[in-house]
Structures are given as structure tokens and as C-alpha cells.
Amino acid sequence: MEFVFTEEQQMIRETAKGFFVENATSARTRRAMAADGIDSDLWTGFCQDLGLAGVTVPEVYGGAGLGQVEFALLAEAAGAQVAALPMVGLAMASQAILAGGAEAQKAAWLPKLVSGSAIAACAGSEDLSAQGDSLTGTFQFVPHGASADVFVLGNDAGAWIVERSASGVEVTPHVTMDQTRPLVTVALNGAQGDKLSDGIAAMRAAREAGWICIAAEALGGAQEALDRTVAYAKERVQFGRPIGSFQAYKHRLADMMIEIEQARSAVYWAACAADEQASDLQLALHAAKAFAADTYAKCAGDMIQLHGGIGFTWEHDAHLFFKRARAIQSMLGNGNWHREQVASMILGEAA
């Protein structure tokens, strides 16, 4: 049994944790929230100084050639600080191009994504028609789309790389509840795309990488919500004693930890199953996305409740966690949808 981190994984974990705790500060994140939702210096630092953005990308394209377990550790550490970064776009677009792109497409784009010189966003939509490589359609709720230099867009009919600068690409930003990951609508009106050779594989890889990324973010966020609430429980005194000594409070913290420990198992199981291409990979992915997202939402909600009035203020960071958690619950398939996929595996299709 070796369901524990290797020394190298442990090192990546410590490094990433230290990096995000030091750099993804509340003040910096809030500056990004007031602008385009990306802390550009942090992204540059992550891609270039830390050099870990390409952890899952083969070395020949500028990456580290490691796996989803290592990526999950990065996303977990970033998620713990609610870092304002285009992480999920990187995860989805790079895996889509890796899985479905031709050699030239990989060579053209992966080094740019890994070095941070191009920001990517990825989305699927049924509203897409292609005449040759001329694309018309609408993609909704695309994360960090306003900052993207390149999109990977598609559905079961195919997937295309579309440059932001191409004519016929219209990006409409929206005021978004989670300001660390603002959403846009991308409308294509006869925009030129570069078709990936295996669109189905590309979109599948994008989805799977996206689930692992946001599940890991959720795990990190949930743990941090608990840790910060625990710290508050020790220092805040009411009725002459720390509020953490009240059983009603303690038990709620315990319930958070119980969920988080399961979410932790779920995320590492899914990431490991992806790296090993295990037979239960799909089950693991649906379990991880559904469970980790719900755990984060519960813990962030409890964080507000257990902080009392201060937790409801804009000034306190609790709402950053709460809004990120809600966004993760809704994106890339909600919990009910993921659980229905699990039910279908066990019980057959719904009537």
C-alpha cells in the first residue's frame, strides 16, 4: 500500500503551499477582483519562478512531465488561498491539446500556456456549427474569458483552437459573483478555428482535468476555511470562555473535518486513478467533483456562520471562500448531475 505522497510529491506540496500563502494575499486577490480577476504577477511567478504550471505537460513542450496528482497538489494550494488565477483554463486547455491536438498544435501552444505567455480558456457548447473551420455559436460562462489569449472550444462534433484576436470572436464579460473567476460569453460569428485532430478525446481530457482541478481547489479551500475558523474559535471569547469550548461550536468544526477527510480521499483517488488510467476512473472523477464541491460549500458556509457578523462583511475573506465554493458547485456539472452519472453506472440509465 502506497496511497501516500512520494518525497517528490511532498516537496511539490510544501513548495506550492509556501508560494501561495506568501504571495496570494488577500490584498493582492482583492486588487485582482476589482480588475479582471487575475493576479498577473502571481501567475507569472507561478509559471516562471516556480515553473510548475506545466507539471502535467511533457518536458518536450516545456513542462515537467509529471501527473494529475502533482497538478492536484498545486490546485489545492492555490484554492486554499482563493488565488485569482486562470488555473482551470490552463488545466483544461493544455490537456485538450495534449490529448486531441496534432504535433504542430502541441508545439505551437503548450510552451506558451506553460510559460504563462498565453492565457487559455476552455468551454463546451451545443450551440456550435462549423463550416469547414469557420465557426458560429455561443459559449456561456467561460471562466477568465476576458483575459484569454486563446480558447479551446468544442462539443461532441469537434474541438477547435480559436485565437482571441481572430475576427468574428466577440467576448462579453459579466459581473460575476465569484470575482476571482469572472465569467464571459464568447460569441463566434464565422470565426476561424484550428481544428484539433481528435475533438472527442480533447473535450474528454479537458473535462477530466477540469474536474480534478476544481475538486482539488475545493479541497484546499475547505481545509483553509476550517483552519481559519479553528483559529478564530481559539481567540474569540464570549460568556467568559473561548467560543471553541462550546460543544455546539466544536461539533460543527468536527463535522467540517469529517467531510474534508473524505473529500481529501476523493481528490487524491481521482487524480491517482487518472494517472494510472484505473478502471474506476470515471467513478472517481464524478465522486471527487460532487463530494469536494459540496464539502467546500458546507465548510465555507459554516465559516461565515461560525464567525458571526464579521463573517458577513466584505472586509473579511469568508465571502471569497463562500463564492468560490458556490461557483465550483455549479461549474462543469452540478452535484446532482455527477451523482446521476454514478447512479447510471450502478443502476443503468434513468427511465
Binding site: M1, E2, F3, V4, F5, T6, Q9, V69, L226, V230, A233, K234, R241, P242, G244, S245, Q247, Y249, K250, H251, L253, A254, D255, M257, I258, I260, E261, Q262, R264, S265, A266, Y268, W269, A271, C272, A273, E276, A278, D280, L283, A284, H286, A287, A290, F291, N336, R339, E340, V342, A343, I346, L347, G348, A350, A351
Partner: protein, 392 residues
């Protein structure tokens, strides 16, 4: 980080499975598939002897005491294959999993010689005398008294919830040996033979109609002076050490039983048409996910070699599985509906799913209630202040 077991470990798994399946297809065919603790107790004592004869009874013990000095992974694999082969639970599981490891850790050589072979061979069945009517969650408030008279300990008092006392040969007893002492101080851990005039066992009927546990009364019950484990006054330390053995290797074997129960629930959902109900589908998916996460949580816990820090997976495991199983019992009843409200025959006896519904209410109580678990998680895992004690 890896999901599975190594090739050598998988080879060991085949060896376990071959032996267990051979036994269950051959001489012990008649006990295969029994799920209760007490059914066919005599035949199951013979099964214990067979296990010991082929050195499969206590594989984690050192070789000199009849074990195989098996690694943690090997013990886990054996527990999984044991459950998978449909072998009934160990009638002496308290001896094998609790008394034996306690003796190995704290016993003298003479005590090890006296008890370990019999425990391994199912000839010395043990039960646990911890809880009392006034000492449940607050275990340290035991009032059963022990006093040394000449070369004998004389014990007076009452224990409760003593599972399997009615088929046991020995009981280990935590008792107050220091007059006037309070709480964890002044307690002593004794091994006592049950078949004596001073010990009386009365069964307690449970909500499912079975009677697996008992009240045990001690009226000038006796045991020789050298029956204590550790020193006089060490009882609490020994008892806590023993409770730590309760977790661990048996968990993955236990999960094979949970798998079988979930499969029964899934089969019932298909048979009744409940499998088409979107709400039931959500709950079955949640149960499946919960069981998988229990498995990977146990894998994390058992793979962990860094014992310098609190292991969150281990600390939260009890409340996790207990709550999961209780939820599964409720889901089962929602699926089978009123057919679960009527027994198959004339007796107040229940088939697997209604019995799961009733029995699982005990899971969130014994071995530390869910409320005590939450205290432990908050205090040990999160460093919250301890519960204040009232004056006793």
C-alpha cells in the same frame, strides 16, 4: 502515490483466497455465509482451531506466538479475502483483536504463554468488561471494585453491554483497585475466568430481538493475584492502549461486509422499481461514493507511516462508517417499504435489510458515540478546549 497493492502483495492475496475458498467449499461449507455473531458457535470454535492449525488465525502476531509476523498490508489483504470468501466473523474477535495485542504489548511472558495459544486456537474466547451502568461514554468513572486478599483479587460490581459474554471463557475487567480514587487513576486491568460462582451473566434483548450482549454481575468473583495486566493502577493506560487496537487492519475487511449490504440495497432497488426514482438514485449514488471514500480513507490511514502527526483519516473513520451504515439502513427501508415492516416467519426475526435498519442504530453508539467522536475530533484533531468535567 499509488492506488493498489504490489505484485508480491497480490500474490499473497491469491494464497489467502485459495486457502479460504478451499475451506469454505470443503470441511466448513456449513458455516459459509453466516452473518450473525453467535449462530453455530460450536462449529465456529472448530473453525478457529482450523485457522490456528494452518497459522491463519493471528497472522500479524510474531511467529513465536503462532503468527506470521505479517505486514500491515498482508493483514489488510487477509481481512479483505476473509470477508470476500463469505467466512463468518471470528467468534473470538475480541480475543484475537483486543486481548491478544494487549497481552503482546503489556503482558508478562508467563501471561503470553498462558493465553496466546488458546486465543489463537479459539479455545479461550474473550469478552470485554469495560462499560458499566454508570460508566458509558464516561468510561473512567467505573465503580466495579477489586481488592487484593492474600493471593487473590476479589471483584464486586457490574458490567454492561458485554458482547458475547454468554459464549466466552474469559473476561477482561477494568476495576477500581484504589479505595476512594476517581477517574482514570486507581484502576486495574484483570483477566478473569467466567465459569465461577461469583460471575453471573444475564442477556440483554436488543431492539432487533437478538441478544448479543449482556449484563455481567460480579459478587466476590475471584482471580489469582497474577491475573493483572501491567501494574496495579495501570488499568486506564492498558484500556486506552487496547482501544487503539480496535482500529486498523480489520477496517477493510469490515468494508467488504458493507459492500455486500450496499449490493443488497441496490438489488432491492432494482427489484422494486425504486431504481427509477431520481431521489433514490441520488441516495444510492451518495452511498456508493461514501463507501468508496471510506475505502480510500482506510488506504490513506494504513499507508501512513508518519505517526508524529494526528492522522485525520484515522480520527474521523469511526463516525464516518457508523453514520454511513445507519444511513444505508434508512435507505434500505425507504426502498423496500412496508414489506420491510413484516417478518418472513412467525418469529420476531429480520432478514438482512430490516435487520440492518435496526442493528445499525447501535453503530453510532458503541465504541464511542457520534457525540463523543465529535468531541475527540475537535479536541485531538483541531485543538479545541476539552469539555469541562462536572464535580463527581
Amino acid at each position: 502515490m499509488k492506488l493498489g497493492f504490489s505484485a508480491t502483495e497480490e500474490e499473497f492475496r491469491r494464497e489467502c483466497a485459495d486457502w479460504l475458498n478451499g475451506q469454505m467449499a470443503g470441511e466448513f461449507k456449513d458455516i459459509k455465509g453466516i452473518t450473525t455473531l453467535t449462530e453455530k458457535a460450536e462449529r465456529r470454535k472448530e473453525w478457529e482451531q482450523q485457522l490456528a492449525a494452518d497459522k491463519w488465525s493471528c497472522i500479524g502476531w510474531p511467529e513465536e506466538w503462532g503468527g506470521r509476523a505479517a505486514t500491515l498490508a498482508q493483514q489488510v489483504i487477509f481481512a479483505e479475502e476473509y470477508a470476500r470468501a463469505g467466512v463468518p466473523g471470528r467468534v473470538n474477535h475480541i480475543g484475537v483483536e483486543l486481548a491478544g495485542p494487549t497481552l503482546l504489548a503489556f503482558g508478562t511472558d508467563a501471561q503470553k504463554n498462558r493465553f496466546l495459544p488458546g486465543i489463537a486456537a479459539g479455545q479461550t474466547i474473550f469478552c470485554q468488561g469495560f462499560s458499566e451502568p454508570g460508566a458509558g461514554s464516561d468510561l473512567a468513572s467505573v465503580r466495579t471494585k477489586a481488592r487484593l486478599e492474600g493471593d487473590e483479587w476479589v471483584v464486586n460490581g457490574q458490567k454492561i453491554w458485554t458482547s458475547l459474554a454468554h459464549i466466552s471463557d474469559w473476561i477482561f475487567v477494568v476495576s477500581r483497585s484504589e479505595e476512594g480514587s476517581k477517574g482514570p487513576k486507581g484502576l486495574t486491568f484483570l483477566m478473569m475466568e467466567i465459569d465461577q460462582p461469583g460471575i453471573e451473566i444475564r442477556p440483554i434483548k436488543q431492539i432487533n430481538g437478538d441478544a448479543e450482549f449482556n449484563e455481567t454481575f460480579f459478587t466476590d468473583a475471584k482471580c489469582p493475584a497474577d491475573s493483572l495486566i501491567g501494574a496495579v493502577g495501570d488499568g486506564w493506560k492498558i484500556a486506552m492502549g487496547l482501544l487503539a487496537f480496535e482500529r486498523g487492519v480489520s477496517t477493510l475487511g469490515q468494508q467488504m461486509g458493507f459492500r455486500n449490504e450496499l449490493d443488497e440495497v441496490i438489488a432491492a432497488a432494482k427489484a422494486t422499481g425504486a431504481a427509477k426514482d431520481p431521489l433514490i438514485r441520488q441516495r444510492i449514488a451518495k452511498a456508493e461514493i461514501g463507501l468508496q471514500l471510506m475505502r480510500y480513507g482506510a488506504m490513506r490511514m494504513l499507508s501512513n507511516t508518519d505517526h508524529s502527526k494526528i492522522d485525520g483519516a484515522a480520527l474521523t473513520y469511526k463516525i464516518q462508517w457508523a453514520s454511513w451504515r445507519r444511513g444505508l439502513g434508512e435507505l434500505a427501508m425507504d426502498i423496500i417499504g412496508q414489506s420491510g415492516e413484516v417478518a418472513d416467519g412467525d418469529a420476531y426475526e429480520w432478514s438482512v435489510l430490516p435487520n440492518l435498519f435496526l442493528y445499525s442504530r447501535s453503530d453510532t453508539i458503541y465504541g464511542g458515540t457520534n457525540q463523543i467522536q465529535r468531541n475527540l475530533i475537535a479536541e485531538r484533531g483541531l485543538g479545541m478546549p476539552r469539555e469541562p468535567r462536572g464535580d463527581v
